[in-house]
């Protein structure tokens, strides 16, 4: 598979699996059955965790949460193409990517439950904390990638963002810097059709967001973002370029956000129920289930079995997250600097003594 064969300016789009789960034999990556099944397990895990988060939010046990339903294929497919030492720079909707990388689930719960300890992700995982401002984190991915080049290492950086982020100035600056420095970065745009209430067509007049790569001297490719094998293949091709010193790649994955932007958002105000119903059969789990079934790798019993495993893990992780001690007052001071400066030491002492007086 050559990225150049999928010129977004010619309206081409990479797809391995059609919506009925039929694979294009010329494109099917050489993955063994265990990995093919793992893709489903990870997508299912993300789906079940996501639904759990929505329930927890409705029960008042979690704060505002951005659902990932519909975007599992982008994240699972691309992250599985990475090696463990490649970096992942997420925005805030990368639950599936975090799970594939091995970020402990109780940390993810903790974060959305409003506890900073949720962002304590071991450095060895090379998965940066959630970035809430839109698009600003793309520059950090470029910086990491430039640093990797400076150190003559072979790792790459995979950065996730949405269609709305491509309108931000920092997207432009990140691709500008990455292009001129040939940084080993993969810019992965999950075009999920909506930036809160603004549809993709009102976001940018470009025919394809992947085509924006041309302006920075970066190859861009559009893929079917509900096809995990397309995400895997495109990421793998981008990785080959990165490791060969050929520089960054822009991947635009056309996917669909089945849920709201966050639990605070009401998509009923700006999009029709018919649109969502039309998109639902195209979502990644439906398609991939059919694909596995066609290869004799899926059965109801198997899905029930892995569902039970996932649900047990979710229940244990909720328990760990909810049993986690509340933040100590000193925590708000102690991580500001490597060494506590005098003014913060005074403010900390003042808070601690006022708490003691209460």
């Amino acid at each position: 598979m050559e990225l150049a064969d999928y010129d977004p300016l010619q309206g081409k789009r990479l797809q391995v699996l059609d919506p009925e789960g039929n694979a294009d034999p010329a494109l099917l990556p050489a993955l063994d059955e265990e990995v093919l099944c793992l893709i489903f397990r990870r997508m299912l895990a993300a789906r079940l965790v996501d639904r759990t988060c929505l329930t927890l939010q409705r029960e008042g046990r979690m704060g505002t949460y951005p659902p990932v339903e519909g975007q599992e294929a982008c994240q699972v497919g691309s992250v599985l193409a990475l090696s463990e030492t490649d970096w992942i720079v997420p925005s805030f909707r990368e639950l599936a990517a975090a799970l594939v990388r091995g970020v402990p689930l109780e940390r993810i719960f903790l974060y959305w439950m409003g506890h900073e300890e949720g962002s304590r992700i071991p450095k060895s995982l090379r998965f940066l904390p959630v970035a809430i401002p839109v698009g600003t984190h793309i520059l950090h991915a470029t910086g990491l990638a430039m640093g990797i080049s400076y150190r003559r290492e072979k790792d790459a950086v995979l950065c996730f963002f949405g269609d709305g982020a491509t309108s931000e100035g920092d997207f432009h600056e990140a691709l500008t810097f990455a292009g001129v420095s040939k940084a080993p970065a993969i810019f992965f745009c999950q075009n999920n059709a909506w930036a809160i209430s603004v549809p993709r067509k009102a976001q940018c007049a470009a025919t394809a967001l992947a085509a924006k790569g041309v302006g920075y001297g970066i190859p861009g490719v559009q893929i079917d973002g509900n096809d995990p094998l397309a995400a895997y293949l495109a990421t793998e091709a981008a990785l080959r370029r990165a490791r060969a010193g050929e520089g960054p790649t822009l991947i635009e994955a056309i996917t669909y956000r089945l849920g709201p932007h966050t639990t605070s958002d009401d998509p009923g105000r700006y999009r029709s129920a018919e649109e969502v119903e039309r998109m639902r059969p195209l979502e990644p789990l439906v398609r991939y289930r059919l694909f596995l079934q066609g290869r004799g790798l899926w059965s109801e019993a198997w899905e029930a079995e892995i569902t039970a495993d996932i649900e047990k893990w979710i229940a244990e992780s909720i328990q760990k997250a909810e049993a986690f001690p509340d933040p100590a007052p000193e925590d708000i001071f102690d991580y500001m600097f490597a060494e506590l400066p005098p003014h913060l030491a005074r403010q900390k002492a003042s808070l601690l003594s006022s708490l003691q007086e209460e």
Binding site: E117, R120, T136, L139, A141, T142, Y150, D170, E173, T176
Partner: protein, 325 residues
């Protein structure tokens, strides 16, 4: 010991830190071949290569955001923004990310980067080239703000800034880039951040200043000395964290305090220092804390900037009023 001006002293600090630590690298617009618009980085690309002294695209947010990414990997980038007036596009990165990364990640990541910022007026520059917005930076959690006022301080403080495990904004008073020379020892020890310097001792009045204003205060002190007023000058050197101990110790001794800054008046750092003195030295005060500052206006173009910038004359007049309170 060579006699260096501020530009040469900063260049020396950069050169020595680059030689000492391969993780240090420089990036910014024109910092490479050109050696920076003020020639602060002159000769460094020739000495250390274009892979370490990186001429970047013209994009301030990009420079700071990329520097943060480099720092997250464990490198120690020193980024240059050509003029503080061009910093606003990068403030988003500084406020949203640079100052927060250690806190956000519970100490898993730190952001050991330095942003060098030529700042301040008095060099007859166009619009957006003379700003002094240090109060905005000081108000931002998680960053340190350093301002040298002499070549030796610039060299020693910059070394500390580069070795600091946290982000440091290093403000260079470009008005005195070439106005002062001083002996600066090669291989000099870093000067610790967070400690003010007593430039002159005196029993009657404490003048608190930083950057180019230290020189104006020194000139004023000469005039005042001739009138029998002994002025103590405290150069803050680090604006965040503030050396409150040095400020209070001096004001408690003299009983009078005048803050001089070229930034706009309202909610400037002078207001913070004034509040600090009220909290910590009220009963020793013989007169209200006074401020000589820029105005709450746009910084004027060259032909009007002398109206805006505090100078020795304004400081002397304010000191006389304080003394006769």
């Amino acid at each position: 010991m060579p006699s260096l001006n501020l530009v040469e002293a900063i260049n020396l600090a950069l050169r020595e830190e680059l030689a000492r630590d391969p993780d240090v690298l420089l990036l910014g617009e024109d910092v490479g071949l050109e050696g920076g618009v003020f020639r602060v980085t002159e000769g460094l690309q020739q000495a250390f290569g274009a892979g370490r002294i990186i001429d970047t695209p013209l994009a301030e947010s990009g420079i700071v955001g990329v520097a943060l990414g480099l720092a997250l990997l464990g490198l120690r980038p020193v980024a240059e923004i050509q003029f503080m007036g061009f910093l606003p596009p990068a403030l988003d990165q500084i406020i949203s990310h640079v100052g927060r990364y250690r806190h956000r990640s519970r100490g898993v990541y730190s952001a050991p980067l330095v942003i060098r910022l030529p700042y301040g007026g008095g060099i007859h520059a166009p619009e957006h080239h003379s700003e002094s917005i240090e109060a905005m930076l000081v108000h931002t959690p998680g960053i340190k703000v350093v301002v040298p006022s002499s070549p030796a301080d610039a060299c020693g403080l910059l070394k500390s800034a580069i070795r600091d495990p946290d982000p440091v904004l290093f403000l260079e008073p470009k008005r005195i880039y070439r106005a002062v020379r001083e002996e600066v020892a090669e291989g000099m020890e870093p000067i610790p951040l967070g400690r003010a310097r007593q430039v002159r001792s005196g029993r009657d009045l404490t003048v608190i200043a930083w950057g180019a204003m230290v020189r104006e205060a020194q000139k004023a002190a000469e005039t005042l000395a001739a009138e029998g007023v002994e002025t103590e000058i405290i150069d803050l050197r680090t604006l965040s964290p503030l050396d409150t101990g040095a400020i209070l110790a001096s004001v408690r001794r003299t009983g009078r305090c005048l803050v001089v800054h070229e930034a706009a008046r309202t909610a400037g750092l002078g207001a913070e220092i004034s509040a600090l003195v009220m909290e910590g030295a009220l009963l020793q005060l013989k007169s209200p804390v006074a401020r000589i500052t820029g105005f709450d206006t746009v910084m004027p173009l060259p032909r009007g900037e002398h109206f805006y910038l505090p100078d020795a004359g304004r400081i002397v007049r304010a000191a006389r009023e304080i003394m006769s309170f």
